[in-house]
Amino acid sequence: VIDVRQAAAAITAVLVLLMAACSPGQGVDLGRGSGNLIAAIGGEPDQLDPQKTSAYFSFEVLENVFDTLVAPDANLEMKPALAERWELSSDQLTWTFHLRNGVTFHDGTPLRADDVVYSYRRIIDEKLSNVDKFSAVTDVQAVDPATVVIRVKQPTPNLLTNLGGFKGMAIVLRSNVESGQIATHPVGTGPFAFVSRKSGDNIVLKANPNYWGGAPKIPGVTFQFISEPSTALSALQAGEIDWTDSVPTQRVTQLRNDDSIHLAVTPSNDYWYLALNEAKPPWNDSRVRQAIAYAIDRKAIVQATSYGTAVANQLAIPDGNPWFAPYGKYDLDLDKAKSLLAEAGGAPKAMDMLVTSEYPQTVTAAQVIADNLAPLGITVNIRTVDMATWLDQQNSGNFDMLMMGWLGNIDPDDFYYAQHHTGGTSNAQKFSNPDVDRLLDAGRSETDQNARRDDYAKAAAIIADQASYIYLYNPSVIQAWNTKLTGYDARRDKAIRFATASLTEPVSQ
């Protein structure tokens, strides 16, 4: 028999205990106590195999664990990394890379040329997603433990970018791959070594004191998964975390005036676009596609999706990038849009627009676009699905128009080839243009920098003229960190590198 008073007393006792233990000081914070840099990222990485993952959350962590042969500096120019130097033969077909001396993996295994060959052969032989980076490569060979020779079938000016542009091309440890551990316990050569992962909570890295680029000044990094941006920002303001890229865009203006927080709003190389399904009439008619391009109000889309932090662009590559080419054909012009539609035989009544809740900006933009196209007599039926369904639908060509973005591009070949070359691996819109094909092929082997820039500028102009993609905007990299964190800067390729970061304790407090 239960006594209500006893039960109430017991509950009260428990609560009093709870409250009593709640005194200031609040116990040990595992992350804080360790002296680690605490970085809040907006979601949980999937697998930690750099060559297999496609998730940005994974790359945020793995950027600090792995190395590539060469790596981009802040201006995205390729600089020595695991390869200390390299030579290119006079026929431009043989690249010889000399590995840095004394590099070891986190488990102590010395890095050898065989590891580089193994890593590249794995991508090539298993045809992993990044295999297209090796499309010109005919042979990868270790001539001695410190030298790797890569042969190409044609001069390949972007080989270095292909090898070092991102950590998907990381040099991995054979035994780590063969044991199957790489997905959960990756072993790299980078500035930080993987320690642990707690599902839904965090990933902890510790400094690699033998890092070839110099031992990090911080003992480690704890990546905390905080998907709600307002929570991440509160945690930053409360001093619980040191860094985050999960920042509510609507608060950027206010944060610019906050001295206690360093805010970086850096234009990125990412871009968002619309693509019309050219396998289906009437979207196979370039005039219909152009009409859509003329009717889109990019300024309104930028405002609605990013509170003005993004930059509208009619091409993929942003101003400030060495490969930028000016282009401004599609300024908002409804009359032009209407006359193009009339030429093409009238406006389509309805359009099925495929967007995904995984990227809320696509849903927001779709509403603006539906509004933009209404005056043309086109009813936009917005279809919001989750990412899994979106990929299915895109792949089976079940859409009239879709909106998506491409992230982390460096070389112009990354921006255009797979997306716009006939039969390209990412050409879901089924665009095909012989001039574009010729120019994109030429760009892959053109070694004269100016001629190459010219090829891509021409290709990009045709792609936009023909509205293979209707380019919308380049988003900004938005990151915030506290004043204790120094030696870190936001990069336009969104690589999160804490190798040179340090944390200084504030004088007072």
């Binding site: 509950i11 045809k127 295999v131 599902s199 998964f225 945690a235 409360a238």
Partner: protein, 324 residues
């Protein structure tokens, strides 16, 4: 007690029957979940590979995940492994599912227990008080407050609590979770705000049930008798009214607890709480079949366990109820 006597003991028979029943329910749940996840559009392999992949990599991953086998073969092989406690590995990150679930379970149980305690501490006195003062101003205040509590979105309440107690006052951390046993102080500090968020919303619902349960009992003849024979009002309330109202209160408390255990996704998102709700949500988005199946099984098992505890408590609260 000899073995046969033990086997025929009503409690043991009750437990044995419930266990058998639970196994049947869990298998039923598994069949439904398995069918559902495989029927829903969306390909786990495609989403794991992202927008850029080769057909070879697609086939390799599909084969490695066992998704190329006929559905029935997949089901029975899963069932066979599940019986031995092997729930497979996540498609998404290769972690063993049982390990992931065990990592998430403490956070979820902590939040549910603290949340329901907060709810009871508020709802029991408020509901009883309100019922005993039916129609008066104090009753109206409780009813309006609980109506407000029911209507408040939990994410909004969570954000408000963070803004006040974490950002402005700095009393508690904004987010995150610490394990109870290795870091009790950290656990406590971190659970206060999410526990309050969950508890306040549940309290609003519970208060209304407590109030109506007490009201219903108050109208009973035996309460009138107790009053008329001159028992002190507190004695009537505690011994006659509240005790008889406990059965419906237990029922709704059990349902509330089970709901919180099943995942309070929004609260978990706002407080970056590594609970089951967010796990299920993310796994569904990634079509991570083994994790969805494992998590739903675990949640179903928790539901059954709570039901069992509630049923047992009925017998404690009201001796007329026999375990059968």
């Amino acid at each position: 007690m000899t073995m046969p006597a033990l086997m025929t003991h009503p409690t043991v028979r009750f437990l044995a029957r419930r266990l058998a029943y639970s196994v049947v329910v869990l298998i039923g749940v598994l069949v439904v979940v398995f069918a559902l996840v495989h029927l829903v559009p969306g390909d786990p392999v495609r989403i794991a590979l992202g927008t850029r992949y080769t057909p070879e990599a697609y086939d390799a991953l599909r084969q490695a995940s066992g998704l190329d086998r006929p559905l029935l073969v997949q089901f029975f092989s899963y069932l066979g492994n599940a019986v031995t406690g092997d729930l497979g590995v996540s498609f998404r990150n290769g972690d063993p599912v049982s390990q992931v679930l065990m990592e998430r379970l403490p956070a979820t149980v902590s939040l549910a227990v603290v949340g329901i305690l907060v709810a009871l501490v508020i709802a029991l006195p408020a509901g009883i008080w309100s019922a005993l003062r039916e129609g008066r101003v104090s009753d109206a205040i409780v009813r309006v407050t609980s109506q407000f509590g029911v209507s408040v979105p939990d994410f909004w309440l969570g954000i408000l609590l963070i803004a006040l107690f974490a950002t402005t006052l700095g009393w508690f951390p904004t987010s995150g979770y610490r394990p109870l046993f290795s870091d009790p102080g950290g656990w406590l500090a971190h659970i206060v705000l999410p526990g309050l968020t969950v508890g306040l919303v549940a309290a609003a619902i519970l208060t209304r049930y407590v109030r109506s349960a007490v009201l219903e009992v108050s109208a009973m003849g035996y309460v009138r008798t107790a009053k008329s024979k001159g028992l002190a009002p507190q004695v009537v309330t505690m011994r006659h009214t509240v005790r008889n109202a406990l059965v419906p209160i237990l029922t709704i408390t059990g349902i509330q607890l089970a709901t919180i255990l099943g995942g309070v996704i929004v609260v978990e998102v706002v407080f970056a709480w590594p609970g089951l709700g967010r796990l299920v949500y993310n796994s569904v988005a990634a079509r991570d079949y083994p994790v969805i199946q494992g998590a739903v099984l675990l949640i179903a098992a928790l539901f059954l366990l709570i039901n069992l505890i509630v049923d047992a408590l009925y017998a404690v609260v009201d001796p007329r109820i026999r375990l059968s």
